[in-house]
Amino acid sequence: MIDRTVKILTPHFLPYKTCVMGNEGIARAALEAGVNGVFAYPGTPSTEISEIFNHVNSFQTNPSNKEKYPELTSDPVYFEYSINEKIALEKAIAYSIGNRSALCVMKNVGMNVASDPLMSVTYQTIGAPLVIVVCDDPGCHSSSNEQDSRYWGPMASVPMLNPATPSDAFEMIKQAFELSGKIKLPVIVRTTTRVSHTRGIVTYGNINHEHRIAQFERLPEYINIPARTATAHSRLLDKLKSESVLSLLKDNSRLILNGSNNDLGIISSGVATAYATEILYQNNFSKNVNLLDLGLIHPFPEKEVLAFLEKGFKKILILEELDAFVENAVRNIAQRNNLTVNIYGKGFSDLVVTGEFSIDLITKVLGDFSETLFEKNKNIPLDNPEIFLDKLPQRPPTLCAGCPHRATYYLLKLAIPREHSELIMCGDIGCFGLGALPPLKMIDTINHMGMSISMAQGLYESFHDSEKSRKVVALLGDGTFFHSGLSSLVNAIYTRANILVIIFDNRTIGMTGHQSHPGAVRVPKYHEIDIPTLIKGLGVEVVETINPFNIHDSFEKVNKAMAHNGVSVLVSKAPCIFLPDFKDRIDKKMKIVVDPARCNSCENHEDVALSCSRCYAPKNNLSRAKAKLLAEISIPGSEQLCPANICNHGFFNSILEGDYKSAVEIVRDKMLFARTCGDICHRPCELFSNEKNVVPIKKLKHLVSSIDENFRDFSQPIKRAKDAIRKNKMVAIVGAGPAGLSAAYDLVQSGYEVTIFEKENKAGGMVTFAIPTFRMDKAGFDYEATQLAEMGVKFQFNTALGKEIFLEKLADEYDSVILAIGMNKAKTLDIIEDNIPVDKRMDALAFLKSYNQGENIIKDGSVVLIIGGGNSAVDAARSVKRICQDNTVIISCIETENLLPAFAEEVKHAREEGIDFFADSYVKACSLIGEKINISLHGYLSKHILRELHCDYIITAIGQTTELPAITHFNIDENLRVKSDSCFTGYKNVFVAGDISSGNNMSVIGAIASGKKAVIGIRKLLEGYKFGYEGEKALERLNTNPAPTIELRSTIIDGNINLEIEKYNLFQSCQKCNHCIDNFGCPAMVKVNGKVQIDMDRCTLCGLCIDVCPNNAIHWETVAEAEFEPVETI
C-alpha cells in the first residue's frame, strides 16, 4: 500500500504515462490541482478515491515518513470520513470558506443526503476551490437505486462535468478545481461505475504545492437570509455565464469523430462515448460518422451543439446512460432554432432509461442507426452454449466465513424464531443486509441508509392501537447507526416506540472496505464514542452488549431485550474478519474438522427409503439446535432406542417444535400403536438407558396420541400402503395380537397382500383380553387395529389353527406364514389344582378376560390371594381392587422385592391402591376349610413360615404356555416356545413372532418388535431385501433385561409438558439434518457426497459451527506441525 501511496504522491516534471483506475486518476488529479482537504463518506463505486486520501493522510502524518520522504509529506492533505455525506459536504464548504481547497467524495445516493448544503451554498459563496465527485451506478451493481446525478447540475445551478474515461476524469478534476476557484462555486464531477472502475492510460504531471493560508473574511454572502436570496439567485446564474465557464464548455465539447459523411451525427456523453468509439473503429465505420462528446453538461454547451446540428446531418443519435438529459437539451435547442433534423434517443432501438450500456447494446443501436449490419467482430459464437448456461447455479454474494453478522443472525434465529411468528425485522444498508438472502432470511425490509429504525417505529405505530400491536425489530450496522440511525433512534425514544434495535457492531464500515466510524476508531487522532454509553445517555433502559459468538450467554439477553416494552437496544459486538482484532484471536495451529460418521448419517435406520421421519420433521427445525444450546440434560439418541425402531429423536424434536401431528406420524412410520404404547408400553427406551435423567418418551407418546384429531388421521400410513409397489406375494398371519398386527402393518406398507387369521371374534390378543381396561384406552386400540383393514389387510375372525385352518396348508397356499398365536394358556400350580375347588380358583388370564368383558365372578368384600409377581398378577390384583374397594388383595411371589418382574410403575400403583405384597414367598400348603381357603406362605429363600392366611379366592398368575397343535414341526424350548433363527422356524416358509417366539421378551413392545423382525425375514426371503432388522440393538437390550430392576424414576411429568421438555436435548446424528447448511450457510462449509466438510482454504477458524452442529459432529483438531504454515493474504 505504501508503494501505491508513494506513486500517487510522486510529482512528475515530464509526462508520465500509467494505467490506472478512474478513481485513482481522480485522486491524482485532485493532488495535482493542489487539494488541501478531502471529506468523504465511503460508497461504491466512489470508495477508492477516498481510500487513497485516507492512505495519503496516514502516510503524510506518519513521523517516520516525514524523514524518509520529506518532499511527499511537506504539505499534508487533510482527510476525514465524516459520519455522513451531509456533514462531509458541510465541512468541505466550511473548509473552502476557510480558504483551503476541498474535495468532497460520495456515491450517487450520498448526494441526496448532502443535497441540503448543496442547494443553499450556491446562493452564497465559497472561498478556495471546492469540487464534489459523485459516482453513479447504472445497473445498480452495488446501490439501492440508479438515479441520474447529472440533474444536480441544473437543480443546484452548479457546473457538472461528465467524463467518459479515466483519462477524461483525470483532466476534468483539474479543470473543476480551476473553475471552482474562479467562479466561487462548487463544481461537480459525475462518474459512473464504468468510468470509476475501469483502468486506462492517464498521464501524470506535476503536483501543485501552492500553499493556501487559512483565513476567514467577514462577507455578507455568508449570512443566508431571505432578504438576500432573490439577488443571490440571479448572481448565481450569472456565474454560469462567465467567460471561464464558456471556455470550458468549448474545450469539453469535442468532435471525436469527424467523418466525411455528413448524414450521421452522434452526440454522446459519459461512457457511451467509449463504447461508441470502440465499435465504430472496430467496424471501420469511424470515418462515416461525426461524433460530438459532451464533457461539461451543465451549463449545457448550447453553442457547440447548435454548431454541430447545423452541419446538416440527416439523423442525429443521442447516446447517454440513464435519463434523456442530453437528449432533452438537444431537442430543446433544435426546436428553438427551427432545425428539422431527426433526433434519435431513448426509445430508439434498444436505448432505454434503465440499466447499463454494453458493447452488445451499443452495437445494435449503432447498427440500427446507420442501417448497416454491424458486427462486434468477425467472431463466430459457440454452438448451443445454453445447454450449459441454462443449468448454471447463481452465485449471490454471501456473508464471509467467520462473519460476526452470520453469528448474530444465527443467534436471532434461535432466540426470536420467525417461522411461526409475525415478527417484522427491518433491515438497513450494509454487508449485514445479506441476511435477507437464504439461508438466513432474517430481514423483511431494506430501504436506504438509516431507515431501519424509522421503519420499525413507523410500523410499530401503525399496529399500535390494533389487536396486533407488537414489538418491531430494527437491524442496522454500526457505521449506518452513526450515519443516520442515531437521529431516528432519538425520535423513537422520544415517541416511546416499542422497538428493539440491534446494532451489528463489527467495528468498521465493512461493505465499502473497512473504514473507521465514531464507534470504532483505529488511530489516535480520533475520539471513539462508546455506543452503549451513548444510548444509555439518551435514556434507553435496556441496552445490552452481546458477543454473537457466545450464543449461550447472548440468548438470554436477546429474550430480555425482546420482552422489554419500549425501546431496547442490543449491540452485537465482534470484529469484522478483515480486521486485525479478528485475526489476532485465531489460533492458527488449530483446525476445524467434521466427523463424517456423525454428519448426515442415521444411527438407527438402515433403509431410509422406508418411511423415515425425515418426511415430516420440519426442515428448518431449529429446536434441535436450541436444545443443544439451552437444555440442562443432553442425552445421546443411542441411549433411548426403541425396539420398534421409532425415531425417538425425531419424535422428541417434533414435540419440541410444537408439531404434535408430525410426532404421531413419526411413531406411525415404524409402528401402528401410538396410543396403545402411550398407555402400556413399559418404555425400555427410558428404563434401560444408562442416563440418569431421561426424556419421558412414553408420557410424550401418550400426550401426542391423545390429541384425537391427529390420532384419528391415518391418511399417511393408508397412503403409504396404497402407494406401495405391489410385490404380488401373499402372507398369512396367524394371530391378531400385537405381534401379528405389527407384522401386517409393515408388510402391507411394503406391498404385500396380508391375511390375518384370528380365533377370537376381534383383533387384539392379549392386549384386548388380558390388559385391564383401566390401564389403557381399549377403544383407541380397536381404532388402531381396524386401520389395518383400511390399509388393505384382510381379517378372518373365529378361525382357529388346528380347527378351521392348518399350518401345512397355509404354508402351501401362501408365500409365507407368520405364526403369532401367543401364549394364551395359563400355567397352573398342582398344589392349588389339587386342593382348591374350581369356583374358588382361577388363572389370571381367565380372570382378566372376564373382567374386561364386564363379568364379575368375585363377591364384594372378599380376600383374594394372587400368586405371581409379573404384570398379569399386578393387573389381576388391581382389577380385583377395582371391582370392589372392600376387597382385600394380597400378592405372593417368589421373587424378592427389588426383582419383581412386573413393571415398577405398576407395582407402585398397586401399592398405592392398598395391595399387599409378600415377596420372596410361596404357597407351602393350602386347604379349604368351610368356605375359606387356608394358606400357609413360606419364605422362598429362607423357607420359614411367613404367614398363615385365610382367603376367598386364589388367582394364579405364574406365566403362560401355549396350546399349539402344530408344535411338532418346530424346535421348542423348555417353555414350549418356538425356537427360530431371526424368526424363521426352519419349517417351510413359516416365521414366528410374539410371545410364542422363544427368547422374545413377553411384552407389548417385545411383540411389536418381533413382528417387525419377522417381516424383515420374509422380505429377505421373498424379495431379497438387503437391509437387516433395524431395532436389533434395542431388542437385544430388551431381551437381556428381563425385568426393570432400576428405581422408578421421577421423569413422569403430569404438569405442563411444554415447560418440562425444554430441559432435554435428545441428540443424534440424522440423515435429514442439513441444519448448518439450511440455517447457518457458512461458505467454508461445503457439502460433498451428502456430508459437510470444512474448506480449510476458506475457514477463518471462528469456531461457531462447532456450536451450531446439533449432532456434535464438528470439533477442533491440532494441525500437524508440517501442515502449519503462516498464511498471509495478498
Binding site: T44, G200, T277, S358, D360, P381, L382, P393
Partner: protein
C-alpha cells in the same frame, strides 16, 4: 492472424483476479501496448462473481461483448462456464479445477456443473483449451492465478513474452509475495499437462 485483443479473467472474490489483471496491465505497458481494463467487483469480498476485461490495442476498451473474448482465464470452473456467451470459435481458454461452491450447491438447490463434459465441449468449440485438472501440491491456492498465467504464456498467440510477465511481476509485486509469485509463475510456465481430457 489471430490477435488476442480482449482477455477476460473470471472467478470469485478472493481469487486474485484484480491482482492478475494488474500484472497483465503492467506487461502491456512494458510492451508498449495500449491497455484498458474494466472490472466488476461489486461485492467481491462477499464471495461474489468477479470479472476483469482487458482490451489491448488502440480503441479497445476493457468492455466485453458477446463472442468478444479472445483469451479467457478462468480461475473457477463454474465461473468459466458462465463466460460461454463471450467466447467464440477462435477463442483460447485456460481454466483450473479449483472449485468454490456457491450456497445453492451446498444447499442442494442446484447442482455444480459437470466439468468434464464442459472441457470436451470447449475442446470441440474453441481453438485451444488448457484445463488444469489438478494443481501441483506445492502451490498455495492463492497463487493458482499466477500459475495459470504462467501456463497461459505458452498458449498460441499469447500477446506477451514470458520475460515481460516476469518483469511485470517484479515491477508490481513487492515484499514477501514477490518470490512466491515468481515461483508460481515459473512453475506454471514449465507445467506439462497430464491426462488432458481435451
Amino acid at each position: 492472424m489471430n490477435m488476442i485483443k480482449k482477455i477476460l479473467i473470471a472467478g470469485v472474490g478472493g481469487q486474485g483476479i484484480v491482482y492478475l489483471s494488474n500484472i497483465i496491465v503492467e506487461a502491456a505497458m512494458l510492451s508498449d501496448i495500449p491497455v484498458n481494463v474494466s472490472e466488476i467487483h461489486g461485492l467481491s469480498q462477499r464471495g461474489g462473481v468477479v470479472t476483469s476485461g482487458i482490451g489491448l490495442g488502440e480503441h479497445c476498451t476493457g468492455f466485453i461483448g458477446k463472442a468478444g473474448v479472445d483469451l479467457l482465464i478462468g480461475l473457477e470452473p463454474l465461473e468459466t462456464q458462465r463466460c460461454l456467451p463471450y467466447l467464440h470459435k477462435n477463442s483460447s481458454v485456460i481454466f483450473g479445477n479449483y472449485r468454490v461452491q456457491p450456497y445453492s450447491v451446498n444447499a442442494q438447490m442446484a447442482e455444480y456443473p459437470d466439468v468434464n463434459v464442459f472441457v470436451n465441449y470447449l475442446g470441440e468449440q474453441c481453438r485451444e483449451v488448457v484445463f488444469i485438472k489438478e494443481f501441483p501440491e506445492n502451490i498455495d491456492h492463492v497463487l493458482y492465478n499466477i500459475f495459470q498465467l504462467g501456463r497461459a504464456t505458452r498458449m498460441k498467440d499469447f500477446p506477451f513474452r514470458a520475460n515481460k510477465i516476469d518483469e511485470a511481476i517484479n515491477a508490481t509485486v513487492t515484499g514477501y509475495y514477490k518470490d512466491k509469485t515468481l515461483n508460481a509463475f515459473n512453475l506454471g510456465l514449465a507445467y506439462e499437462l497430464k491426462e488432458q481430457s481435451a
